[in-house]
Subunit: 400 residues, 2 copies
């Protein structure tokens, strides 16, 4: 979600993005700064999770529950299955209580040269499952698309039988091309503070899964070499800031504890010691909002958002959003627009979409793409409708 | 574990219990009150979980990981598999991180008449798994033993994909013959306080699974009819006091919070609000040891015990233990002997066994049977060796 290559061909290709897409579902939304039109792109999807834009204007999208990877076009139409995706650990029951399945998809930064596609998933094993990342070369032959030479480049070091809190978002550093992977604490709060256990961590490996020499815990006893930061709960949004290359993440907190964090190497983000939230039962957890030796979040949402995918907006279509962080809200069913200055949130607007939002991407033409997390989920394309709304009016009162 | 019928034939049959068992493993232990000899009974077992003594001197024993139910004899020798046991949800991996599988086994109080055997297990379903109890009629034909007409009489109302904290112990009320089942909170602390969710509860149903009219929540909105008490974490020991018919339970607490509770209808035992423990990571949980409106435990262990099966001692072989509660300690690898007077623990002795103890039973001859929770687990029979040690000496200093 949070990274795709801006190649030299972007300017030319971006014309494709203006091609009108057939409006299967459409709505107009008055947000604080812009009037927005939403259009559904292509077929209905079963719990879509991750979206990767391709240099030729197509995209790859994952379905969490079916485990399918699909190729689609912005103009809509039928999706084309991509074979070769690893088997995933999931339960297919009607309630969908397991959070396992196929998660994120992204292109290697050098995709134009190497055609490498990365997917994250809940990898089944004798011990249950663990968050993992695999890669394969996208090969197309007529209507057949497949991943070839698929290999698992990363898997959690301790699998277990929980079907919850996999994390599963990943991003490539724009320069080093290192792979950063979020791993949830598997709904076991005891695991997030263990610096030898990948659960509740953000992982940093090279694009082939090997350990970079400068990882923060390489020389530390009782710390795992692959871990970049610890003390996370279930981070599902991860993005490099396009100008500063800082790494930002969202984390699903307990009740009232949803967070935005700026991730730095070797730090402890506190869960379950430091949290602004309570357990969903209402029971207190942890020792408060600020605990010594732990990194405080940049922001804690005062209402439950269920923050998932995150992208920094950097297009021309919504000029008043430029540089803002766009976060998909599952529980809030809104696109959360966040402006950050000096590591503080200075503006927050909840743009109501009315659907649970799993991932957010910005397209080369400046439109915004959302995945909605439903059994009848969809790709929604947000474009600008009409002139920008004036700021400082009634609509802006929603900003907090 | 905690209940078997004392039929009229017990006195005669009890002679069988004195038959010497082949000593495959044997040790002598000096406890505060008695010198104890331990002998291994029969074959090695893979993670045995529950043990039911039969009126003819044989026993049934479960293996959690393999899902096997086995028939054995106190004289030792090979175990005989009993077919017809329901499939269980489990992972067979080397680390055994899932706690799912086949759990407890007990005979119906009228077993002599109806041959009904009950087993608890993690029942697989589309949503994952849930704690369940099934029953079937034990039928033997030569060397073939099987459960016939097997039916699930109880299953959790909300299954999920966690492999942890199933609870899974059950006991029959000696008079009403109602079935009480412990259900863990599935390693999801948010579920224990929800009185509509069986997770984190003790269940009370009739022996056919129907709801007794006098269940505490029958007439209460937003409460489930089958629930007897809520606020439990992962109770794995359950026993009726042989004289008072009071129901007692052990509960695996978080770090430092292992509990003994006396269970009364309709009460809230506090997890995760009321707990003396911390999370295993060290993080605080809850609001303290005593929370208004919640029932305090009778006892909190000051060291981690990992309390599993529990039995009240009522034999003649260890006269100084009469009436005491014997608790199998997993983490402590000890048999915890507890004396309770006026609902307070007045004596506590940890008898070191050196093996993780999953279940405890008292046999008609007064010997004590332990199941050890290992991949090379065993049934250990504790008998008295030599004269009772004098009390009030150095050994008694261990009592707290």
């Amino acid at each position: 979600m949070t990274h795709y290559p801006l190649t030299g061909t972007t300017a030319a290709l971006s014309l494709l993005w203006f091609a009108p897409s057939p409006a299967i579902a459409q709505q107009l939304i008055d947000s604080d700064k812009h009037q927005i039109r939403t259009d559904k792109i292509g077929e209905t999807l079963e719990h879509p999770w991750g979206l990767a834009l391709m240099p030729d204007g197509r995209f790859l999208v994952t379905e969490r529950n079916s485990g399918r990877l699909l190729l689609g076009r912005m103009e809509g139409g039928a999706f084309q299955p991509v074979s070769g995706v690893p088997d995933t650990f999931r339960f297919k029951g009607p309630t969908g209580r397991s959070q396992g399945g196929l998660f994120h998809v992204a292109l290697h930064p050098d995709f134009a040269e190497n055609q490498m596609v990365y997917v994250s998933f809940s990898q089944p094993s004798d011990e249950g499952a663990g968050t993992a990342v695999a890669r394969g070369r996208l090969s197309e032959n007529g209507d057949n698309a497949r991943l070839e030479g698929v290999e698992v480049v990363y898997t959690m070091n301790k699998h277990d039988s929980s079907g919850l809190h996999f994390g599963g978002r990943f991003a490539f550093h724009p320069e080093t091309k290192n792979l950063y992977v979020t791993v949830g604490e598997r709904r076991n709060i005891s695991r997030a503070q263990d610096a030898e256990d990948h659960a509740g961590s953000v992982i940093r490996v090279r694009d082939d899964g090997s350990v970079p020499d400068d990882n923060p815990f390489v020389a530390k006893a009782d710390h795992d070499d692959k871990i970049h930061s610890i003390g996370h709960r279930n981070p599902q949004g991860l993005a490099f800031h396009p100008e500063t290359n800082e790494l930002w993440a969202t984390d699903h907190g307990p009740e009232g504890g949803d967070e935005i964090n700026r991730l730095k190497a070797g730090l402890n983000y506190g869960w379950p010691f430091q949290t602004a939230g309570k357990d969903y039962s209402g029971a207190p957890i942890g020792g408060g909002k600020e605990v010594e030796g732990m990194e405080a979040p940049v922001h804690v949402f005062d209402k439950t958002v269920g923050p998932a995918g995150v992208a920094f907006y950097r297009g021309d279509m919504f000029p008043e959003w430029r540089g803002d962080m766009l976060i998909g809200g599952l529980a809030s069913e809104s696109l959360e627009r966040i402006r950050i200055a000096d590591n503080k949130v200075v503006e927050h607007e909840s743009i109501p979409i009315g659907r649970r939002i799993r991932d957010v991407q910005t397209a080369p033409d400046g439109s915004v793409l959302l995945l909605t997390e439903h059994s009848d989920g969809e790709i929604l394309r947000l474009t600008r409708a009409g002139a920008p709304a004036s700021t400082g009016t009634g609509a802006a009162d929603k900003a907090r």
